[in-house]
Symmetry: C2
Subunit: 151 residues, 2 copies
Amino acid sequence: MVYKNDNIPLTAYFSIVKQQQIIFFNKILEKECITAGQTPFLIYLLYNEKSCQEDIANHYKIDKGAVARGIRKLEDAKLIYKEIDENNRRKYCISLNKDGEKIAKKLIEINDEWEKTISENINISKEDLKEILREIANNAIQTNKMEDSDG
Amino acid sequence: MVYKNDNIPLTAYFSIVKQQQIIFFNKILEKECITAGQTPFLIYLLYNEKSCQEDIANHYKIDKGAVARGIRKLEDAKLIYKEIDENNRRKYCISLNKDGEKIAKKLIEINDEWEKTISENINISKEDLKEILREIANNAIQTNKMEDSDG
DNA sequence: ATATAAATGTTGTCAATGCAACTGTTGTAT
DNA sequence: ATACAACAGTTGCATTGACAACATTTATAT
């Protein structure tokens, strides 16, 4: 094998896109007391009222600790209701309030716009792109699960 | 506009893949005193001897502070030479040593394998995928540059 | 020659996220 | 009924990366 052709590792592109997304949304959210990381939570909560934190973690495949911190931020920014679920006092029942809904709707539009911009000049549709990324994400998760059980 | 259809934002997939890559490589590098973030640096240095930190930052479009910390780790792990460039004493002249080369070559193979695994069952070639990701990354960078100059 | 600007790297601070240890609540097995 | 396991969330610490302030060295302009 010859070690030439410094192809940039795929992972570098994933880093770049994610970092640029954080920069873009943090700029937009400067005045809102929240940051880019809460965007997906707001979007999820707009579609799924009365969710618990584990629902969000499962949906986005992220750590429950990260969700706890994000939800705390949304709470501090007074964008959500967060009440103990009386049917299961381990859980919280989380919903957007009016301000939260307003920001969530705005963020969906901004995100749509951003996604359109970054997928310009590629020769597949945005739907195909999303499907491919979904598959890659699943593969990446599965790979690590397999490594776990292998030892 | 109707706010249904909770499509997962593209950015969520980019997060997942990046995080899973970090987990995968950190597991492999457990014994090497370095972590996943240094993988691209080692790969770059294998192809580009006597680089300076700015070269790496430009190549991967990451912050020079992040490069400084990564290079420090490679130095602490005794995988590189790092000497002041006598033609320009602001710069360092960085190259892999024998151990660094060995790990770099190993990491290239592991990375190839990992990339193959995560791009299984998608209906475009890995080359096309890379091209698309490159374009998306460029678009994401350009978007923020334009925002800067707009105000 | 001197003052100012630009280049290169370092470091502090912050955001996003994983993991592990912990708390409190609920479910299960004996 | 009691003990133990599982669930839901919180928090400390680590890693990747951005940004800004800083130091040092070099280049430029007057």
